[in-house]
Symmetry: C2
Subunit: 339 residues, 2 copies
DNA sequence: TATTTTGTATGAAACGTTTCATTATTTTAT
DNA sequence: ATAAAATAATGAAACGTTTCATACAAAATA
């Protein structure tokens, strides 16, 4: 009689151990059984190299211990860090993470949500852009930075306060004439409040300000035109710039270097996100730091807590400021070589 | 009679449409059925908002269309990029990616491999460090940068050639006295060949060289001691340094700035990996660039191809050099603001 | 019209678990 | 020693699919 070629099942284990199916199940799930039974079952398991089939388990339990995370990409260090922290938080709770980089393809976002509803995952954490996502209200969903609907919790940082903080910092550092730059479309997403907060802060400190927004991410060259127009005799009329993200800040700095404008001597720059090199070395620019650990933790906590008690639809976490060399202060060096 | 509260099943659809179970299955799987049947089934599906339960499918098919990716973290931009590209490549093939950041916890690596063997995933792509991983030969596994065993394919770049290239570049740029620095333990992983390649290149070009290796990643401060010892009258005796990774290069540059050694004027530095800011902006240092797209693509290709024909156990992809401002050449600016 | 062939829908069985009503055994009380 | 109660193992049924042998109807042939 040939040995079965496919993987051993609980039935095989039961037979080998000379016990019933239910007994094997109990041993596997840590439910107490008689000493002698447990020993025999364990022996059979290791003899046969038995492994549970989690699909059969999932079929019964309708629970997968898997969460889908939708994120534009992992190349942007902010997203990469967020992903890493969400993964950590999920792992702590014995959950697994199915990662979907939606990149520019908005249809991926819907596809993954559909998948979630096919029981492949227990819930979704999504940083999405597609404005028409169909989310079944039965599917646990936590949104990052975008308000999706009345019953879908959204975790974000205090973007308004962040904008305000940027204005105040620039004022404190001696700026009198500042600009706000942003790329990306004007969806109903929370980060857009950075602008309002900045304006509010400028008014409070009596700062003259101007705003320039490019809807299309790819047309960043237009900022060059904008900045050139604001130059006279090789001098930029702004002495401070607040960029909606660190990525944008970095590109603006490149641009300014091309225009021979010095940072931070001629113009001070503050970004947003708190991006660091290699995740925890230097800040790449002075920046409003998102509490990325807290955001990750909060998303997971809200998603996995089964109590569906009334909860605030919007969880807004505090931001902070960090000097990163693009303002007239000594940059902070988080935990590097402080000898 | 109350409506069932749980999600509708194929049975419900069959009943609603007045057809057999098998017919519903066919419609769902795109197998031709009579026009009138198909229409009725489709109507029932949309009426009931039916979604297939992929756990039941998985149980039958023993196939999950999911691949686990084991990676230390996503904070390191190189890993983040690799993850992103693997995800892209998997998505193209209709596969999903279960991401596991193993971080410092080596036991996670084994846990995920066990999981794969419980049919939660169809295969694994792993960049692992745990030297004692137990991999069932039945489980499709592709290793990155580490040779795991005779029958486990390993994808890597030409690390030896990379080291050689670094030496040659430094020689071409006028260096006469160079150093190789590395952190991390000396496992049997492929990247260790960078050292041999570098030494080989130095010998070929008649460069004087020295090597300093720190087994423990956290003791990077010891490089400070090392470099201080190699200084006389405020002048470093090396005019070129090759670092085993861009991360290390970056930290060495910080260190040198503290010692008032100028890069690239006093000492030229070459790293390894090809890390760029935000994934595709500037190189953060002059570097040996890994063909990260090809590595990702190759891993997926090898993992998913069902033909188990004899294949080379080691796939070695070519590297290239890129100037990034830490050597005496104009840095390359990949696709940024080339106005 | 009777018979064979072809094409297509049917639904029971199987995948590998977990659950729980039933049965067997041991312990305690009388 | 017997009855009752407590404890623990048993294995059939169910989870929601896919598959495939069977049944049926329509078309083709005699």
């Amino acid at each position: 009689m040939r040995k079965k070629s496919s993987a051993p099942t609980m039935k095989d284990v039961a037979q080998e151990a000379g016990v019933a199916l239910g007994t094997v199940s109990k041993v596997i799930n840590g439910i107490p059984v008689g000493e002698s039974y447990r020993i025999r079952v364990e022996a059979a398991i290791s003899k046969l190299h038995y492994q549970v089939n989690s699909y059969a388990q999932g079929l019964k339990a309708n629970k997968t211990y898997t969460v889908a995370v939708l994120i534009p990409n992992t190349k942007d260090p902010y997203f990469a860090r967020l992903t890493n922290l969400i993964n950590l938080s999920l792992t702590k709770r014995k959950y697994r993470m199915l990662l979907c980089c939606t990149d520019s393809d908005l249809s991926f976002e819907q596809e993954y949500i559909t998948m979630a509803q096919q029981n492949k995952v227990d819930g979704i954490i999504g940083l999405t852009y597609n404005p028409n996502l169909l989310i079944n209200p039965e599917t646990p969903f936590v949104s990052i930075d975008r308000i999706m609907g009345a019953n879908i919790p959204c975790v974000t940082c205090d973007n308004f306060m962040g904008g305000q903080l940027a204005a105040e910092k620039l004022a404190d550092l001696g700026c009198r004439n500042v600009a706000f730059l942003r790329t990306g479309s004007s969806l109903t997403n929370e980060p857009n409040k950075r602008k309002a907060g900045f304006e509010n802060g400028c008014l409070a400190r009596n700062l003259h300000y101007e705003t320039k927004i490019l809807e299309d991410d790819d047309l960043i060259e237009e900022f060059e035109t904008f900045l050139r127009e604001r130059m006279q005799n090789g001098r930029l009329e702004f002495d401070g710039i607040f960029c909606s993200t660190d990525l944008l800040a970095y590109r603006i700095i490149q641009l300014l270097s091309k225009l021979s404008v010095k940072v931070p001597e001629d113009v001070q720059i503050i970004g947003f996100d708190g991006v660091r090199l290699f995740g925890d070395l230097d800040y790449i620019c002075s920046t409003i730091v998102q509490p990325v650990s807290d955001i990750a933790e909060m998303c997971v906590q809200i998603l996995l807590q089964d109590t569906l008690t009334a909860r605030p639809p919007l969880i807004c976490l505090p931001v902070s400021y960090a000097a990163g060399g693009t303002t007239k202060e000594p940059p902070e060096r988080p935990e590097s070589l402080s000898g």
